[in-house]
Amino acid sequence: MLPSTSMRLPTGLALTSAVSDSVAVTAEHNLNTKMMLDRVSVLYNTFTAVADVNLPIYTNKISAIIGPSGCGKSTLLRALNRMNDLVPAARLKGAVSLDGEDIYAANVDVVEIRRRVGMVFQRPNPFPKSIYDNVAYGPRLYGDLKKADLDEMVERSLKRAALWSEVKDKLKQSGMALSGGQQQRLCIARAIAVEPEVILMDEPCSALDPVATLKIEELMQELKADYTIVIVTHNMQQAARVSDYTAMMMMRPDRAGEMIEFDVTTKMFTRPKDKRTEDYVTGRFG
């Protein structure tokens, strides 16, 4: 595995404003790039859902992808752990790299990619199993662990997901019996248990009440010390609260999603460069 180095410029590429944004940001903050999207387009048959996106994902930072519904945010996110592979009609152009390696290369094991790039979904989706078995599911996939090791792993993951104190006495109970917010934290614990490097979150709070949302947001701040996080949200306040970097997506007239701006979150929300970003973040539409 190559050590992650500072971002390399996508080769042979006309500098769109978004790319020059990211180059400027990278140089200015001396950041490490965990993942890199290089002219990524995602097509469903002939329909282009995401067009020509260039986006760096910085190590141990929270990157938010925002934009109106249907602009391809989730599709773009799912390109990062190859979940789009599950849709037979989906096709990807361009390159997505993880630590400098192309995750769509022919010899790459998709299972390995998904282990390194975990995912938390829009609706909490705990398995109909006990809380313990939900968290232990991932580690059990990767070899025979001793009971004691597994116990420790489950406890560590649940603690990391700020759920341990609430469930430590009922680990045998079904994960489905928890509240929505607890279920989502269980799903985060489940994702953490396989020790990924990147965690993708697809509108993780859209099915939760404000209190549960706050808990998840606090959790994200703690997690970024160890993980690189990418969150898709159409809640702009959330993006402003939790993220370090923000990518703004918009639908083109041909319905393809494109990235129109990328910047440090605080800049993006105070001094957006693009008029459309400004209109969106100030709530003039969307």
Binding site: M83, L86, E112, M119, F127, P128, K129
Partner: protein, 292 residues
């Protein structure tokens, strides 16, 4: 508007009356037809209960075959035989059926997927005697009559039911569970067995119960495969007794004792099938409550 309404109502009264009459007639007609449709079932149940309960006793269940001169004995051998036949048929059909259902539910639009779906439809409509003939020609001609041959015939009849119900139940498992598992780096087969199957388990059980209920009373395919026997046997390579076969034999027997015993067997089979159907309903009900 208010001034118009009474006149409007008044004017439509005759139409209204005509419509009401038609309504009542149609309601009566559909109700009557429903009763006619239900009548045979009720009649059969009443008749089976009336004629079958006479010969029913504990010793009838626990004794094996005896000649009528010795009181006629019981049907323990047939109960054991039916148990073995159905149990073995389930062992054959359930693994094949569940794996097939996984394939079809995950690759519904492939050539093989469509072929399997069409095939199970045809298979479930196939007359059971044809299945019997098939097994007779393939197995019995060479190996002789046996419990194994009988259960093979029943397994073929159970298979389409197991496949279709399991497939339907797998379809009901939320897509997000499959994605959740795959996103953790689980391979497809692991996802199927560790997440999808447990989530669909109650449904699969329901399908199995319905499949058992379907074949519990099958007689035609057993006539020339399991053959039937008056002895208590658990050997899989020998002919074996079964409830419907004994029922058939006793029903056409000239002895009044045997005729009464045939009705008692009918009562047992009907009770079994009814219990399985009610059980399946209860499981489905319980499941839908759990998912809410």
């Amino acid at each position: 508007m208010n001034t118009l309404q009474p006149r409007h109502l008044k004017r439509s009264t005759t139409h209204e009356q005509g419509r009401r009459v038609v309504n009542v007639v149609m309601l009566g007609l559909t109700g009557l037809m429903t009763l006619i449709a239900l009548a045979p079932l009720a009649w059969i149940l009443i008749e089976v209960l009336r004629r079958g309960s006479g010969a029913l006793s504990v010793s009838f269940l626990t004794d094996t075959f005896k000649p009528t001169s010795l009181g006629g004995g019981g049907i323990w051998h047939a109960l054991v035989g039916t148990g073995i036949l159905i149990g073995l048929a389930a062992v054959f059909s359930v693994p094949v059926g569940i794996l097939t259902a996984f394939y079809v539910s995950q690759h519904p639009n492939t050539t093989l997927g469509l072929a399997v779906r069409f095939g199970t439809d045809v298979l479930s409509g196939l007359p059971s005697i044809v299945v019997g003939l098939f097994v007779y020609t393939l197995v019995v001609r060479g190996q002789g009559y046996s419990a194994l041959a009988g259960s093979l015939a029943l397994a073929i009849l159970m298979l389409p039911i197991v496949v279709r119900t399991t497939e339907e139940m797998l379809k009901l498992v939320p897509k997000s569970l499959r994605e959740g598992s795959l996103a953790l780096g689980a391979p497809e087969w692991k996802t199927s067995f560790s997440v999808l199957l447990p989530a669909a388990m109650t449904g699969v059980l329901t399908g199995l119960m319905l499949a058992v209920a379907r074949v519990a009373g099958e007689t035609a395919p057993l006539l020339f495969t399991a053959l039937g026997s008056n002895n208590l046997s658990t050997a899989l390579d020998k002919p074996i007794a079964s409830l419907p076969l004994v029922l058939f034999k006793y029903a056409v027997d000239p002895s009044k004792v045997r005729n009464a015993q045939a009705w008692a067997i009918a009562l047992i089979i009907v009770t079994l099938v009814l219990a399985l159907n009610i059980g399946a309903r209860l499981i489905t009900l319980w499941r839908s409550k759990m998912l809410q």
